[in-house]
């Protein structure tokens, strides 16, 4: 039943004729707008399906024109024969076709020379640039939440030997395998504790404590008031394991080519770290880890003539993601855009099984002047289904949270979030619930995704909270 109390209020409170008409028209528009609001899950599912269809359709169109290629090739060969007949020296100057293996060998031969060039030109690992490195590290401390991920990657680039990662909350990951994908859950990802990983304290406590807690929170609805109905109520959901994506030499070259590094490249291997350089571009890969991390920067000079708008920049970012899909398949959904005077930064998240993957994010900065990608940060995955499980209801999930010895939620979203205990009589208003795939390392240091409900809303004092509770038993 529609209440439309705002309309009734406008009808009784506003007497002025034209203003009343306009306000009532806006109210009508609002009502129609919300009544016809599509579901986000449907929007994403349809987009995923359409892109799949679009690619199939596009490739079948190309296949249909394959007769063109031999025809063009024949014309080109005929032209070459004519030119060679007229000028015999022309053929001698043509570039030779080098078989792939020879090309790889050639690149390997050039590595030593090119490594020297790097030592002369690179500002990354030079001993005299330690001060620079220190500056970069200092920047990390001052980075905002949005820049946190890139800051941590910069730290890895600056200090590749130790693989020491510092994040905003002061967490250290000495093995270099921790969370590179998120500022949201910096501490927890190394804990191997599924509930703790999402900011919900998961201290199992003693049986006696559990019983005590359970009786204190015997009725979850007394604490949690759900004011939304847009969330899955039942069904099956999958959990995944990220098996990792180990790139071989050929893959690495292909990847470098996607970023426009086509010249004789340098492969500087330090454990699992690889760097490629060319034309003021640097591509750094942390290969052989789960997940594989890719960081790219382009510092070449910009031409002011090709200024791009946001839509063009987004297409540029999408093109890069599309090219990377052979390494990292999945649907990239735009989460946020940060516009600065220099560039557009697009932040995407991957969807796994049509649910947002929390943790790893993909960030693409496109230069406004040139339309070129300035910076890229992303992770690569190889998800395999671990199993399919029945969803528990949100109420059951909240109940599970309250069964903990010390139930708690985060007071805000992001790396500076701190946990606050839930008081038995506290009123918590849940305004939004999203089923997510939460990426984390379990106690065996395997990267897995756990289906969770992400709840957000307001606490009794009006401040924001975010909590994630497991959506399966």
């Amino acid at each position: 039943m529609e209440h439309r109390e705002i309309r009734k209020l406008l009808e009784t409170e506003i007497m002025d004729g034209p203003e009343r008409v306009e306000l009532l028209a806006v109210e009508q528009e609002l009502n129609d707008y919300f009544k016809s609001q599509p579901s986000e899950i449907f929007r994403n599912q349809l987009k995923s399906h359409l892109l799949e269809e679009a690619r199939k359709y596009s490739s079948s169109n190309r296949t249909g024109r394959f007769w063109l290629y031999p025809a063009v090739a024949m014309v080109a060969v005929a032209a070459l024969v004519v030119i060679a007949f007229i000028k015999p020296t022309f053929m001698e100057n043509l570039p030779k076709v080098v078989p792939e293996q020879q090309l790889v060998d050639k690149i390997a031969d050039t590595q030593l020379v090119a490594l020297q060039e790097i030592n002369e030109n690179s500002v990354v690992n030079e001993p005299e640039n330690i001060e620079n490195n220190e500056n970069i590290k200092n920047e990390i401390v001052n980075e905002s939440k949005v820049g946190g991920i890139l800051a941590r990657v910069k730290a890895r680039v600056a200090d590749s030997k130790s693989f020491l990662v510092a994040d905003n909350s002061g967490t250290l990951d000495l093995e270099g395998k921790g969370d590179l994908g998120s500022t949201e859950t910096p501490v927890n990802i190394t804990r191997g504790n599924t509930e703790g990983a999402l900011g919900i304290m998961s201290d199992p406590g003693s049986q006696a404590e559990k019983q005590l807690t359970s009786s204190r929170f015997s009725d979850p609805s007394r604490n949690f008031q759900i004011t939304t109905s847009s969330f899955p109520k039942s069904g099956q959901v999958k959990a995944f394991q990220d098996r990792g994506r180990l790139l071989n030499a050929g893959d690495l070259q292909k990847l470098a080519a996607i970023f426009g590094i086509n010249q004789a490249m340098v492969l500087s291997s330090d454990g699992a770290e690889y760097r490629y350089f060319g034309n003021s571009k640097t591509l750094t890969l942390f290969n052989g880890q789960v997940p594989t991390t890719v960081y790219y920067t382009n510092q070449s000079t910009r031409k002011a003539a090709n200024q791009v708008n946001q839509a063009e920049a987004l297409i540029q970012a999408r093109k890069l993601l599309s090219a990377l899909e052979c390494f990292n398949p999945g649907l990239y959904t735009l989460k946020n855009t940060v516009v600065s005077s220099e560039n557009y930064q697009f932040i995407f998240y991957l969807q796994v099984d049509n649910h947002p993957l929390t943790g790893p994010e993909i960030r693409v900065k496109v230069n406004r002047q040139s339309g070129e990608v300035d910076e890229f940060y992303g992770t690569m995955h190889n998800f395999e289904v671990l199993g399919e499980y029945p969803l528990i209801t949100v109420e059951q999930a909240i109940n599970k949270l309250l069964q903990n010895a010390s139930p708690a939620i985060n007071n805000s979203i992001g790396s500076d979030a701190s946990k606050i205990p839930i008081k038995p009589a506290e009123k918590i208003v849940v305004e939004k619930i999203v089923l997510i795939q939460d990426y984390q390392l379990n106690h065996n240091r395997e990267a897995i995704t756990i289906p969770k409900y992400q709840l957000s809303g307001k606490l009794a004092d009006g401040s924001s909270f975010e909590a994630q509770v497991e959506a399966i038993e």
């Binding site: 039943m1 529609e2 209440h3 109390e5 705002i6 209020l9 406008l10 409170e13 004729g17 034209p18 008409v21 306009e22 306000l23 028209a25 806006v26 109210e27 528009e29 609002l30 009502n31 129609d32 707008y33 919300f34 009544k35 016809s36 609001q37 599509p38 579901s39 449907f42 929007r43 349809l46 987009k47 399906h49 359409l50 892109l51 269809e53 679009a54 690619r55 359709y57 596009s58 169109n61 008031q225 004011t227 939304t228 847009s230 708008n309 839509a311 063009e312 987004l314 297409i315 999408r318 093109k319 993601l321 599309s322 735009l334 009123k427 208003v429 305004e431 307001k458 009794a460 009006g462």
Partner: protein, 180 residues
């Protein structure tokens, strides 16, 4: 500024690049959905029709030639025919006159209004947005919103009135007016 001023570039790209079709979809999904829902008034049926509409649009995008009318009109035409087919299959009546309206200037005006309303919502404070959402999306009464947000009913009413006033002001700045 027109709501979909970047559409020409996107259409050209979408003819060659599947990902660009994804961007077109992002741009027009909501208007098409709302248009179909306006007739069907059922989300499940709307989803079926909208899916079919975009699949048809994808297959026909290469043959699309600009006629001087906005691209959305072309999409609406596909959606309209798909809706009629859907109703025929179910042996149900469809108000074809209503569906026709979107091809007129009046219909396009409606699309623009929804677009600007979407934009204007971003100009509301977080609390105002919440009151509006709880009222329309969750169909909550003022007294329930007051409880949920820990405010008095009077404060919620005042917030709702200010929100509608602000929406009218922001939309008015973009040239959206409603005749008296």
């Amino acid at each position: 500024m027109q709501p979909f001023s970047q559409e020409d570039d996107l259409i050209k790209l979408a003819k060659k690049d599947p990902d660009a079709f994804g961007e077109l979809y992002e741009l027009f999904f909501k208007p098409v959905y709302r248009y179909v829902y306006g007739q069907v008034r059922d989300h499940s049926e709307t989803q079926d029709i909208v899916s079919e509409t975009f699949i048809k649009a994808l297959k026909a995008i290469n043959s699309y030639t600009p006629t001087g009318k906005p691209f959305i009109v072309w999409l609406y035409r596909i959606a309209k025919n798909t809706t009629i087919d859907h109703f025929r299959r179910a042996n149900r009546e469809v108000d074809v006159n209503w569906l026709e309206i979107v091809s007129t200037d009046n219909g396009l005006e409606q699309v623009e209004h929804r677009y600007w309303l979407d934009q204007a919502m971003q100009h509301l404070t977080e609390d105002q947005q919440k009151v509006i959402r709880l009222h329309y999306l969750e169909d909550m009464k003022f007294k329930d919103i007051a409880k949920a947000t820990n405010r008095t009913e009077g404060a919620v009413k005042a917030m709702a009135l200010r929100a509608v006033g602000r929406l009218r002001l922001v939309m008015g700045k973009e040239g959206v007016t409603y005749g008296a």
